[in-house]
């Protein structure tokens, strides 16, 4: 297995694979954070999570087109504008969906799965009607392309670094909001005991709506970031859904820290296996190991001790 490579090569393999793993980790965290809030905190199974991400990606695509058309000189910073717009768009759609659909289903978590699956089909068809069935490409500003060469054999892609930085920022923001803000306290109170939270004067409906919308908004930002590495088509969202749910469940659904830990474990495992096995088999093995561990430890890596 290692015999084909020299020592120096092995070192750079590990360095580069470690970095590839970190990129994958960032991708997983971005995908999973929104879901961890929606699923972990609210117990809603949002099968349309991928479609929310794709909405963010399409918003980015539109923004890039508008900038290319009308504000060519500002093109290098359009990405930041696009991410904000993506957040706003998905946040609003999330709030709308919560108001129109999810709020009737809090007592029936499995039914949210079916309803949001229906929603995902509708969104897919809307994307197809509006943007066409073909995948669209987003033009990146020049500074996001290319790579930084550390040594001869170690090169770090800039967009990977960008995704990582974004992940760190969003994670910190979410943590501050969840654990340091008044709103976060309310969310946690509602999660633990809805009736009591209502009794002490928390507007649970409003908290629910904002929580759901926020989860969707983060998905939108994730989708926006993914235009740098992946494709944007009407059905691209479905590709992410299994991975995302597994990351959240593996981490222990109600723990945000767990989500991050599980994203780290899964991504590192997958990227190191990918180097020595074929891509398909690495994926199968990773999924099998995750499912295997979940069977032994169903509560996931980090579980809150709460009575059910």
């Amino acid at each position: 297995m290692f015999a084909d490579y020299s020592m120096a090569e092995l070192m750079s393999i590990f360095a580069m694979q470690g970095f590839a793993g970190l990129t994958l980790f960032s991708v997983f965290v971005l995908m999973a954070l929104g879901l961890a809030i929606i699923f972990g905190q609210m117990g809603v199974i949002n099968m349309a999570h991928g479609e929310f991400m794709i909405l963010g990606a399409y918003v980015t695509y539109l923004t890039s087109n508008i900038f290319a058309e009308y504000a060519q000189n500002l093109f290098s910073i359009y990405f930041f504008v696009a991410m904000i717009l993506a957040f706003v768009a998905t946040f609003l759609l999330g709030a709308l969906v919560e108001w129109g659909m999810i709020r009737f289903l809090y007592k029936r978590p499995l039914d949210t799965l079916l309803a949001t699956w229906g929603l995902s089909l509708i969104l897919q068809q809307i994307y197809r009607s509006v943007f066409g069935a073909r995948e669209v490409g987003v033009t990146l500003p020049d500074w996001l392309m290319g790579s930084v060469a550390l040594t001869d054999s170690i090169e770090i892609p800039i967009n990977g670094l960008f995704v990582m930085g974004l992940t760190v920022l969003i994670s910190i923001a979410v943590f501050i909001m969840m654990f340091r803000s008044r709103w976060g306290g309310q969310v946690r109170a509602v999660v633990q005991n809805r009736t009591m939270a209502g009794a002490v004067g928390i507007n649970t409906e409003k908290v629910d709506r904002i929580t759901f919308a926020l989860g969707c908004g983060i998905a939108g930002v994730a989708g926006s970031a993914f235009t740098m590495i992946g494709s944007t088509g009407p059905t691209s969202g479905q590709l992410y859904i299994v991975d995302t749910f597994l990351v959240v469940v593996f981490g222990g659904a109600s723990s945000l820290l767990g989500t991050i830990a599980s994203a780290f474990t899964i991504s590192q495992a997958q990227s190191s296996m990918e180097f020595f096995l074929s891509g398909s088999m690495a994926k199968v093995l990773t999924l099998l190991v995750v499912v295997g561990i979940l069977m032994l430890r169903p509560q996931g890596l980090f579980a809150l001790k709460i009575r059910r």
Partner: protein, 378 residues
Amino acid sequence: MSHSGFRSLLPQQDMVYFAILAALIFVVFPLSMDIFRLNLVGKYLTYAFVALGLVLCWGYGGILSLGQGVFFGLGGYCMAMFLKLEASDPEATKIQSTPGIPDFMDWNQLTELPWFWEPFHSLGFSLLAVIIVPSIFAYIIGVAMFKRRVGGVYFAIITQAFAAILTILIIGQQGYTGGVNGITDLRTLKGWDIRSDEAKYILYFVNGLLLFACLFIAQYVRKSKLGRLLVAMREREDRVRFSGYDVANFKIFVFCLGAAFAAIGGAMFTLQVGFMSPSFVGIVPSIEMVIFCAVGGRMSLMGAVYGTLLVNWAKTTFSESFPELWLFAMGGLFIAVVLAFPNGLAGLYQTWVAPRLSQWLRNIRALRPPLTTAQSRS
């Protein structure tokens, strides 16, 4: 089974429903449709097996599996392996570099049949495998999950992961499984051409009979103590456990039963459609199967069959007339079923049709002299 036992299994009202469905499947459809449409209905009905299993698991037991496609696929693949081996006798495959093995193996440089294909030369083994393999698989998953009291949403997501794993595995190991194309070009069953119109009629009726066999088994489970325990577990699992029942075993049993139903459906699918491919194993078909069940009404065995027929009919019709719109229609249907009619077609029937029907029946009976009713009862 004694007469009274049969009565308790199938009360008069249920008997009427069974009879109506039987009339529909065995008389109305075959008489009113050409073989092309009938074959389609036959294909739809194979999904009804899965929906039936889901009524027991999900509607009664509260266990939602998003991986029923795995069992449907395993059953279908077991059948397809037998048929493929029969279709690849050395005579028919003599242009290959290794005659006598399935064509896709030859393309992937396999020079001999893999060991796990060998037993599928035997029809008896294959038919057994159709039931046994998925059941064992379900048993392993069931033991691992239910003994550790994993349920609800977690179970749904883990079963979904299994669907993803099996799909990637089948596609990746194409030398052994036929890959993304699946196992295609199946011709004969013990020399009997399954592609002829006559065979399709026969397979349709076999399929219908098997569906009824499964319906009766499901009805038996529903009416037995197990059925009531399942409902009790769904509502208050702790209390059933505290009453001294081993909750996990019941769940495992009903999950395995659902898997076996799905597998029979898969095998019949292979026979009627003539191929099996990983696109019936994955996440999307698995969720669609849950939808069939939900549309029919998750608590109703009959509803599962009608729901499957309705959704598939709508899918075919919509995609024929408005290909661009059918996803809207399907999506809307799912949301509507969950938000407005949580008990599906069966619920609609119970609230709207049944009361009027019984009122109407009562009116008719009131017109008759009471003696006749008594006579007909005896």
